[in-house]
């Protein structure tokens, strides 16, 4: 019985075993050879004279040893750690893991040379060279040091002095110095057309136009290249191009990602990113705005909008979800994304335990977490329309003006209502002087005694409303006559009552007997939402305290008050709840036993409408007592004598409903509250002032409804506590002992003194010039964008397990230069693109194929397949279909029908865009997480479900099928064919134009011949079956030029397709 392999116990045994052999003399031989085999190819520095801990040793120890002998104390074996000198040099009863200078006395050397370590089942082995390197390091004194990326950037980086006129700038000097060491020399410059195409794609994501090519070829001036680069950097398409990489990192998407994958309205963030790059916002500010724009002094709207970065994680609305679990996941996602995108660290590894390799403890992980968990969010969402709070309204300038007007009208209406109350004094006196003998409570539209039931209906003594049972409720003796007793699952609704929206005033009056449940239970509600509704009105009871809420999205968009004292336990108590429709907490009032209750305001910010959304559960959208779908009901509670008025009744009227003393009796001895009664109930002017308040609220809420809203960051007034969560689980114990405060890992520069230790402090820390990671990570990603691979290949991980930089000094030089330039992204790109390194031709030679197949040394220029976006944008641009409109809501480009909904009946229908909207740049396509555009995914775009900073580049048959058969590509081919057939030239010139437009250069003789043959063959084919030609040219939404011969057009279309599918187009070289 049992499982195969239990590594923990076996490992322990192995470690405990005695080893007899000493160090073989063989090693000394191997040491000498160790660098021969690794130098040329492996990205590590060329043969060093002396072992460097950071460069040579740490990678080996980390990959092969630290899992069991590293920073994580929980997984540490035999209590031996090799990540610190203290651990490695420790006396273990006359044995030492490492004895500096004496490999033969070092336990580590014994174990690894005997091949006992690492153990077989770890799946790790040490090569002879690695063993030799470690041995040599120990022989040299076993000097420990920091990982290179944690070392601060030097104040200046010396540029190698190379004697050559090849370098144009310092980048080239670093690259050439390395090439010389490797006995390689740079490639000749790429042909002008090739460089132009490369640079145009890299900087704008689009192919160069015929005019641009011609202009550049004709420009023989000294600064022709510079002129092109400046033109490209100034192009609005620059922002669209460079944003794609950041949007991958920011996991930007247009849908929420879980289960029903509803659409997430967050495109203004995408537009902000594009705009920021186009305006060349300094990169430190770019990061700071996204991390903590809301906390900057008097933040601009854009700065607050930028913080949406932290809210782009997936969000769930799946039924049955526990909000606390998802709230935790969201905070975790924020931390992990921050770690990868900004610091290049895999901090996420420390969520469940101390990081196995990097110096980040689990406690430090939750110190980061503490910066990101402190917003008032619910944890689940309800619908695409109701934006999870905290959120920001983004009115257009016109909306802004109208909104200001409506808000001041609403304020004015409230002031006018106050004034009307004051002005009513003479009228009140006049009314009193008239000695009224009868007074009533107007506006009562229902009174249900619950004493009689007829065909499952509880009749009302006034109006048309009636009570209805929701499932079984017991009839029991009540405050007067009969009452109902609830079982927690069932309740009663009152059908036919008004007050669905926030601007409608109302009063509820009823009697309850509270059995005193400790958790919050639903007393009364009119809410929507599939699960626990949090959209509408409700009255909750928790341990005797009442909470009245008016909500669109709890807790950020609501008004709510809570009583300061309890209702009596078990005894009949009278409850009154009034709302004046004013949209403010002051308009909510609670009464217990006829007196206004002292309350605390919990939240007082409400915008847009509150009701009429979502699945309303069994209450069907009516007012309901004692239960709510999937919520805790008023179990064991009793209810009697319901009264509803469509006005916020005055206190006197509530008292009357409580004590039953008729108002007429009160009039005989005028009591406190009579004035308020008169104003509220009788005075015509005051009543119309109240109606004006409600009207102003109606106008305001209805108008707000149409305003774009986006989830952003906004800190809770007091920080939410954070705890080290055992195994990263949301429901792990939260105790005083494991509570953590905000902070940064000890292995990185200290936070320094801050007045407030909040996200802004963190943002400042990240962008401080002495943060060793941020600038290195940023320049590396730019390098990756231009060369396909970063100087550090693992652009997502600058930790110990990440790869070493191929050109560490160059990386540091670029990072230093970047900071000193004021984090100037355009300048950095300009420098790289104009370097001789970048200008080289990318053609391979036999020598280079052998010496550096992956081009990590840059003896040739970069060559890369176009990205998914570039592939599609190229055919749109070359055909002239491209609609260059920037920004705005996402559009739905072509995709095979039914993909969104074929296995997801909960998700919205895909409605393909029409007209020119169909031909927008791919960055503006709807990115739907659970169902990304398949043609984009096939070309290695990612689903944006999680932060990604590197895309793979594959080459698969499915890509061929997309390019050959997808309507987008066939249609674009036809449109381009039309363009050239409309030209007044011969077919050869037409073919040339097609080629230039798509491949950015003229075809050579062989290519021209092949393409002409293609055209002729295809024409022959279509002549045999002209109907097939007609069918081909009618593929796609746009209509073919009917003046053209269908056979000619079809044949030319296939010719264009041939070009479109060729390497010359799909790769930039």
């Amino acid at each position: 019985m049992g499982a195969i392999r239990n590594d923990r116990s076996r490992f322990g045994n192995l470690v405990g075993m005695k080893v007899g052999r000493g160090v073989s003399t063989l090693f000394l031989l191997v040491v000498g050879m160790s660098w021969l085999t690794t130098s040329a190819f492996n990205a590590v520095q060329a043969a060093p004279a002396k072992i460097s801990f950071s460069r040579d040793i740490l990678p080996i120890l980390s990959d092969k040893c630290f899992k069991c002998h590293g920073p994580d104390s929980e997984s540490r074996m035999v209590n031996m750690r090799l990540d610190s000198p203290e651990g490695a040099f420790a006396d273990r009863g006359g044995k030492w893991p490492i004895v500096p200078g004496q490999p033969s006395k070092s336990l580590v050397v014994k174990r690894i040379t005997a091949h006992e370590m690492p153990p077989t089942f770890s799946g790790k082995t040490l090569s002879k060279e690695e063993i030799a390197t470690i041995t040599q390091w120990i022989a040299e004194g076993a000097h420990y040091g920091k990982l290179w990326s944690f070392e601060s950037l030097p104040a200046s980086v010396p540029v190698p002095n190379v004697k050559s006129n090849w370098p144009r700038n310092d980048i080239d000097r670093f690259v050439l110095a390395r090439l010389i060491r490797e006995n390689l020399s740079p490639s000749p410059p790429a042909p002008r057309e090739r460089w132009l195409r490369r640079a145009t794609y890299d900087l704008t994501g689009l192919p160069p136009t015929e005019d641009e090519i011609a202009a550049f070829l004709a420009d023989t001036g000294a600064n022709a290249y510079e002129r092109v680069v400046d033109r490209l950097l100034a192009s609005p398409h620059y922002g669209e191009r460079i944003s794609v990489d950041w949007l991958d990192a920011a996991r930007y998407s247009d849908s929420y990602g879980y289960q029903s994958d509803l659409l997430m309205p967050t495109w203004p963030y995408r537009d902000w990113v594009v705009k920021s790059f186009n305006e060349n916002l300094p990169y430190n500010q770019f990061l700071m705005n996204q991390l903590a724009g809301d906390l900057l002094p008097s933040p601009t709207r854009d700065q607050r909008l930028a913080t949406a970065f932290n809210r782009l994680h997936r969000q769930s609305n799946e039924g049955g979800s526990i909000a606390a679990e998802f709230k935790n996941e969201y905070a975790v996602d924020r931390v992990d994304t921050f770690g990868t995108a900004m610091l290049g660290l895999t901090v996420g590894c420390a969520r469940c335990h101390d990081h196995k390799f990097d110096p980040i403890t689990q406690r430090e992980y939750y110190q980061f977490y503490a910066y990101f968990n402190s917003i008032n969010e619910y944890g689940l969402l309800l619908s695409s329309e109701i934006v999870p709070t905290p959120s920001l309204l983004l009115p257009t300038p016109e909306q802004e003006a109208k909104l200001g007007k409506l808000r001041s009208e609403s304020d004015a209406a409230l002031r006018a209502r106050d004034q009307a109350g004051k002005d009513a004094e003479p009228r009140y006196k006049h009314w009193l002087a008239g000695r009224p003998v009868r007074a009533e409570t107007p506006d009562v539209v229902a009174h249900i005694s619950l004493d009689t039931i007829d065909a499952d209906k509880f009749p009302s003594s006034v109006g048309k409303a009636f009570g209805a049972k929701l499932g079984n409720v017991e009839l029991v003796p009540g405050k007067s006559g009969k009452a109902v007793e609830f079982d927690g699952d069932n309740g009663i609704t009152v059908r036919g009552l008004p007050a669905k929206e926030r601007w409608e005033a109302f009063t509820w009056s009823f009697w309850i007997a509270d059995p005193r449940q400790t958790g919050p239970v639903v007393l009364l509600h009119r809410t929507g939402g599939t699960d626990v509704g949090f959209c509408g009105f409700d009255l909750m009871l928790e341990n005797g305290y009442l909470t009245a809420r008016v909500m669109r999205h709890w807790p950020g968009n609501a008004v709510a008050i809570r009583t300061q004292s309890q209702v009596p336990k078990s005894a009949w108590s009278h409850i009154g709840w009034s709302w004046d429709g004013s949209g403010r907490a002051a308009g909510l009032q609670l009464y217990i036993d006829g007196r206004p209750a002292k309350t605390t305001i919990i939240v007082d910010q409400l915008w847009k409408k509150i009701n009429g959304y979502g699945d309303l559960g069994p209450s069907g959208g009516d007012w309901a007592f004692g239960q709510r779908f999937r919520d805790a009901g008023f179990k064991g509670g009793k209810l009697d004598e319901l009264t509803f008025a469509q006005r916020a009744l005055s206190p006197l009227e509530i008292t009357q409903l409580y004590d039953g003393v008729p108002l007429t009796a009160v009039l005989k001895s005028p009591a406190i509250g009579l004035r308020e009664y008169y104003i509220s109930a009788l005075d015509e002017q005051a009543r119309s002032a109240q109606a004006a308040v409600q009207k102003a609220q109606t106008d305001l809420a209805n108008f707000e409804e149409g305003i774009m809203e986006i989830s952003v960051m906004q800190d809770a007034p007091t920080p939410n506590p954070a705890y080290v969560l055992r195994r990263g689980q949301y429901d792990a114990p939260r105790t005083a002992e494991n509570r953590v405060t905000r902070g940064v890992p000890k292995s990185l520069p200290a936070l320094g003194s801050t007045t407030r230790n909040d996200r802004l402090a963190l943002a400042k820390w990240v962008t401080r010039p002495d943060n060793p990671l941020t600038a290195r990570v940023a320049v590396n990603r730019i390098w990756q964008m231009l060369f396909g691979v970063g100087l550090v290949e693992t652009s997502e991980n600058f930790g110990i397990q990440g790869s070493r930089p191929t050109h560490p000094e160059l990386l540091d030089y670029l990072a230093r230069h970047f900071i000193d330039s004021g984090w100037n992204v355009k300048e950095l790109i300009r420098e790289i693109v104009l370097s001789s390194t970048y200008r080289q031709d990318s053609v391979r030679t036999k020598k280079l194929i052998d010496a550096d197949p992956l081009n990590r040394l840059y003896a040739r220029g970069p060559s890369l397949r176009l990205s998914a976006e570039m592939v599609r944008d190229t055919v749109l641009a070359a055909s002239g279909l491209l609609n260059p409109k920037m920004g705005g809501p996402p559009v739905n480009a072509y995709q095979p029908a039914g993909i969104w909904t074929e296995n997801n009946g909960m998700t919205p229908q895909f409605v393909q865009s029409t007209g020119t909207e169909l031909y927008r740049r791919s960055i503006y396509s709807t990115w739907k997480r659970t169902s990304p555009v398949p043609s984009m995914l096939i070309f290695d775009a990612n689903s944006r479900e999680a932060c990604t900073v590197r895309r793979p580049t594959t080459n698969t048959p499915l890509q061929a099928l997309v390019l050959l058969n997808d309507v987008q590509f066939v249609e674009a081919a036809r449109v381009l064919a039309e363009r050239v057939l409309q030209m007044n030239t011969g077919d050869a010139a037409r073919i040339k134009t097609v080629f230039v437009r798509l491949a950015g250069r003229s075809p050579d003789a062989r290519e021209s011949v092949l393409l002409m043959q293609t055209f002729i063959e295809q024409r022959r084919q279509f002549r045999l079956d002209p109907d097939s030609a007609r069918r081909l040219i009618s593929f796609g939404d746009s209509k073919a030029d009917s003046a053209l011969n269908p056979v000619e057009l079809a044949a030319m279309t296939v010719m264009v397709q041939t070009v479109m599918n060729s390497d010359a187009v799909i790769w930039k070289r």
Binding site: E318, G320, S321, G348, S935, N965, T1014, A1064, W1067
Partner: protein, 500 residues
């Protein structure tokens, strides 16, 4: 650059040639093209594979997997896990001692009573092994002796999206490679002109959604993602030539394209261009091989009778089972089926009956069919959902409307073929069907950290399935974001007792 390139960072000169091939050219050639270069039978060794592993860790019992995923969470109490006590205590509240403080979803957590619900279906024992099965699985009952039941599965997630993502990718968090893509990455292909990893989903079922991440490649290359086959005219997206392009016209165009690319290669010497040429040939082949494999019309009548009347309707579970068998014959390595509709929160009796009608006969037919063809022994079939269901009723306990909520603490999956121990049952639950129990019926609290005899965590099942495929789950990994990622995260134990 692919993360796996890092693997071979320090390599000898011979290895570098290999790296140039695998690390760069192979990216281009993709799994399919690789196959045409190095079909496994040419390798002349049973343990050699053309995925990144190169060689299996041990001889495989199963060459391929057909995973019949039952999305939504089938109710084990009404299908496999016979619990007479529930019928006896029908309507009584679930004892607190049995629930033991375990969390519930918010769909039933606030219910004022949680009444135990007996199964309305009759159970009987079947086969030599005496497996208890519900009356609504008559055909599966007929092959009971081919099945290996695990009644003590457990998982961590309680909501569908995280739970199915966990089952299919080893993590509740999105972004990890799916099971099939791991197999595709590690083992590579066994055919020349079909994908390695194919996905089929029953059409028109509604209910809990499926997501492309379930067959996505996560941080592996996108060439390892599952290829979704759809019912209808175009079984694979973008497969068909546009209307108006005939076969010979396309062939002529591809020939010219190939010449064009070859010309480019001569100038650039980039192996990617060669691989590009191969990809177009592969795509062209797929245009024939895919319609071939999906064309059921040549199947004899008795096969349709075996799979049931639905097998003639494209896109049904029955048709997909038959299609899966055809793909298995053609050497597709990982065939992932999905059947939605098992989320019986209410109206369980009618709902689950429909589900069984959809799936019972085709599942049994697939097993019989493979057996008949001699393929069952090296084809691993898995049947199960993302979690189980509660032994209590969600909502009122009335015959027509009662349902069961999600239950991650114990549920049943079964396997057949591929080296599993046929005719057996592994693990048990307590008499309430609420907790995994020891052989005496006492509730246990297994965790994923340590293997508990008699309990199978999701990672344990994944580890076991990989083991049957000849793979040590701990050694099929890829360095990403600073650590070695694998399907089983840092957990998983191979459950020997499930194997022959």
């Amino acid at each position: 650059m692919r993360p796996e390139d890092k693997r071979m960072r320090i390599d000898d000169l011979v290895g570098l040639t290999r790296r140039e091939f695998f690390g760069r050219a192979a990216q281009g050639f993709g799994a399919l093209a690789l196959a045409s270069l190095m079909p496994s039978w040419v390798l002349g060794d049973d343990t050699k594979v053309n995925g990144v592993l190169g060689k299996l860790h041990h001889p495989a019992k199963a060459k391929r997997i057909i995973y019949l995923f039952q999305a939504g969470g089938p109710a084990q109490q009404d299908l496999f896990d016979y619990k007479p006590l529930l019928n006896k205590m029908h309507g009584q509240p679930l004892p607190e001692a049995v629930r033991h403080g375990q969390r519930l979803t918010t769909m039933s957590a606030h219910q004022s009573v949680i009444p135990l619900a007996g199964s309305p279906f009759k159970f009987a024992q079947h086969g030599q092994g005496g497996a208890w099965l519900s009356e609504i699985l008559p055909n599966i009952a007929g092959v009971a002796d081919d099945l290996c039941f695990v009644k003590s599965m457990f998982t961590e997630a309680i909501n569908h999206d995280p739970a199915i993502t966990f089952f299919q990718t080893g993590s509740q968090i999105a972004g990890r490679p799916s099971f099939g893509s791991w197999v595709s990455y590690g083992l590579g292909t066994m055919n020349e002109d079909l994908p390695t990893f194919v996905v089929l989903a029953s059409v028109g079922k509604g209910d809990q959604p499926l997501y492309s991440r379930l067959w996505g490649s996560g941080f592996l290359d996108s060439r390892y993602q599952g290829v979704r086959f759809r019912a209808g005219k175009e079984p694979v997206l973008y497969l068909s030539n546009p209307d108006g392009i005939c076969g010979s016209g396309r062939r002529a165009m591809l020939d010219r394209l190939s010449e064009l690319n070859r010309h480019e290669y001569e100038k650039e010497l980039d192996p990617e261009i060669e691989s590009r040429i191969a990809q177009y040939e592969m795509a062209y082949k797929m245009q024939t091989s895919v319609p071939d494999v999906t064309d059921l019309s040549k199947e004899p009548n008795e096969v349709f009778e075996l799979y049931g009347p639905d097998s003639r309707k494209p896109g049904t579970f029955a048709a997909n089972c038959l299609l899966a068998r055809r793909m298995a014959q053609k050497g597709v390595r990982f065939i992932q089926l999905y059947h939605q509709g098992w989320d019986q929160h209410g109206s369980l009796v009618s709902g689950i009956s429909v589900q069984c009608k959809d799936t019972d006969q085709p599942t049994a037919a697939l097993i019989k069919d493979l057996k008949r063809l001699g393929m069952l022994e090296d084809t691993l079939i898995v049947w199960g959902g993302e979690f189980g269901r509660t032994s209590y009723s969600q909502g009122p306990l009335e015959p027509a409307v009662f349902g069961r909520d999600h239950h991650p603490r114990c549920f049943t999956v079964f396997m057949a073929g591929g080296g599993v121990k046929a005719g057996t049952t592994y693990g048990r639950t307590d008499d309430y069907g609420y907790n995994i129990a020891d052989p005496d019926g006492n509730a246990m609290e297994p965790t994923k950290q340590d293997f508990t005899n008699g309990a199978v965590h999701v990672h344990d099942l994944q580890a076991t399935l990989l083991w049957l495929m000849g793979v040590d789950h701990k050694l099929l990994s890829i360095p990403y974001q600073g650590r070695d990622f694998r399907l089983t995260d840092v957990h998983g134990h191979v459950v020997e007792d499930l194997m022959q």
